[in-house]
């Protein structure tokens, strides 16, 4: 209606609206959600492929023992613990509390570092490699997919933390911090079914 000109136009004044918005009111939140849905379906299909291959096999896991539980279970525990500092700085971000967010993010970065290290041990102790059987291939694919997300989000956190120690602290940063937290939750939540499939499914489906 660029061309309309009336003596007195009715106007919708949006100047009172906030410019720092969280959750469903923030565009970034929806974008992140979209990415999670995409990656979530990738994970889902990879797990489906795992069970499809199982349905085609006579013995499961073929020719190897199920993977030993220690490192995987340890990592799951650390994953769950890491939720605590994350949730803490996520809530503080809502209030624009810079110091708390700085501390919380550093904590979660340290958690991430530990998890990546333990994950490395996990890979060393897996019961197969990817070239021997289709079972090995799918296990490594699923692990690989999750590691990619793990590292991506970790690097992400590092960069964001750096920003929080730079002169770039502003409303958008806190929104980013909240997104970063929710993405970390995504990494944690997707790990749980993966943990069950990698470590427990071979025991339950043992034949």
């Amino acid at each position: 209606m660029a061309e309309r000109d009336l003596a007195q136009r009715r106007l919708l004044d949006v100047s009172p609206l906030p410019s720092v918005t969280f959750a469903t009111r923030s565009i970034t939140w929806w974008g992140t959600l979209g990415m999670m849905v995409i990656e979530g379906s990738v994970f889902a299909l990879a797990l489906a492929a795992y069970f499809y291959l199982h349905s085609r096999a006579d013995t499961w896991p073929p020719g190897v023992l199920p993977p030993e539980l220690f490192w995987g279970t340890l990592n799951t525990a650390i994953f769950l613990l890491s939720v605590i500092p994350t949730e803490w700085y996520r809530r503080r971000a809502r209030r624009g509390d810079t110091t708390s967010v700085q501390i919380g993010m550093i904590l979660s970065i340290l958690f991430g570092l530990t998890i990546i290290f333990v994950r490395y041990k996990e890979m060393l102790h897996l019961n197969t490699d990817w070239t021997q059987t289709a079972y090995g291939s799918i296990v490594w694919l699923i692990m690989g997919l999750h590691i990619t997300h793990l590292i991506t989000d970790w690097v992400d956190s590092v960069v964001l933390t750096a920003l929080f120690f730079s002169p770039h602290v502003e409303g958008k940063r806190f929104v980013d911090a909240e997104e970063n937290a929710s993405y970390w939750y995504f990494v944690v939540i997707t790990w749980i079914p993966i943990y069950l499939v990698i470590y427990w499914a071979p025991r339950w489906l043992r034949s």
Partner: protein
Amino acid sequence: MSDQRAQLVLETEPAESAEIRAERLARVWTEPSGFLGWFRAVHHTTIGKRYIVTAFIFFLAAGLLAGAMRLQLAFPEAHIMGPDLYNQIFTMHGSVMMFLFAVPMMFEGLSVYLVPLMVGTRNIAFPRLNAYSYYLYVFGGVTLFAFFFVNSGPDRGWFAYVPLSGPDYAPGKRADIWAQLITFTEVSALAVAVEIVVTAFKLRAPGMSLNRIPIFVWGQVVTAFMVIFAMPGVVIASTMLLLDRTASTQFYNPAVGGDVLLYQHLFWWFGHPEVYIIFLPGTAIVSTIVATFSRRHVFGYLALVLSLIATGFIAFGLWVHHMFATGIPQMSESFFTAASMMIAIPAGTQIFCWIATVATGKIVLKSPMLWVLGFFFVFIIGGMTGIFVASVPVDLQVHDTYFVVAHFHYVLIGGAVFPLFGALAYWFPKITGRMLSETLGVWSFWLFAIGFNITFFPMHILGLRGMPRRVYTYPAGAGWTVLNQIESCGYILLFLGVLLFLLNVWHSLQRGAVAPANPWGAGGLEWATSSPPVPYNFLDLPTVNGREALWDAAPDQPVVVGLHEDTREILTTRLLDAEPEGRDEFPAPSIWPFVAAVVTTILFIGSIFRPVAVSIGAIPLAIALIGWFWPTRRESARRRERDVWQKET
């Protein structure tokens, strides 16, 4: 949060003259100029135009490849080209049409250009991601053709079934290049899908509640959701293929527990919805054009939207009907037959609604409407032959014969390309500011329509005469020669039709009549701004009062004020009722998306030859992405002092 709501006010006297504001907005929103500027552009109209032009070029290229096939098939046991070249050509034709033309044009191109205009906002959500996805798409396509010209074109069909495309039976790098092309295009499609969903959900003009969203936008949103859920299937399938070939994994190796049908399940989980990803934008176009040229609101808005959504759901329930011949249990056969038949119901519903619109409106036969009418006749035939392939026993006969080739060219060209030409004729004035010539338009339509039917109708008969697909030649005695020659002649008309369309475009760009803002007297918001749109889309962000914004606008329909106009600020609204709920500042032009795309391309291509390229390439990619998201001091400072925090509720 009561004090954080937008309120209606009466304008006493204009704060500033429109000229000053327009000038300021232009300064903020105009795309950077110069050679480097070209690579920094982030506005959806710029990127959208590039998508459309690029996709059309790929359409022409794939069309020429089809010509080469028609030439070879015009004679039995022809030696014009050998099987090696023919297999590359038919694979390129299929892959390019599907991955570099159909989806990028029908979904990415049209939606990126039109959706933000139609919902009345200043730019698409995540503009830099949008630019990145475009460059990735171009690089993917260029790479594919580059390899094709050095005799490394994929030659395993656009579906690349294992084990034929696997490490043991596809030596060389051809199949890897196919798999990476998929990666390129799927990344860009997924990115655009997210942008479109968010744009349509959060950036709509105030008043454009869910039940007032233009059907075109609905169509593109449903398509976006299908992309989001379907593409992961081919992501996994092609990744596994690539790993099998380069990292010697065993996903598809029957000798050690792998399975060749796993690939087909994953591929068709994507591949069937893919057909609707291409077709739904087509129906969205039809609904729009039918309404405008029947001079009435489209009949059965709710029914149309619901059938779009229903199609989106059912589409995921029939991937196996591409695998009826693989010996799957009869039980699931029946299920997928039922699903395949069921999807005819929403399709039928849409057709009936359009016919109802036509039959109760005042029809103006301009060339866009001609293309849409052509769509009806062609697509209905394609839909009917779809029932043949949905029925298991009949499919066992016609599957992988020329009958199927005829069927999907009727649905895809009928369901996508006819509406596409309609769309190009319809929105050309908006995009370029020039009118196309009606005469040339009508001529190109008839050439195309007649040529199309001459080329593809005989294929039904060939299929029922037992001619299989994907053969580079056929015996002289089989009784297939005459029909093949008729088809090859039809191709020439088809070709001339497209040529005439191009001539029309070129001619009107030179000396076409200048287009007014709303040449068709249409009702969509995109017609509310000038043709071509100003860099900031709308001087005053509009509000909406009905499904056809311009037709239903109240005489004193309010406009939005109060956004900062010295930055790229846009208005965000609530998902359901499009109530204003926030202001957000959009990123400025940047070179980083382009840099990131270049790095990604090197990474993808490198990984074909040395898997380690993935881990090495990740580092520069990370750097590029950091540069992408790193704000400038000035921005941060400015925003910091303007920040208005959302009140906790």
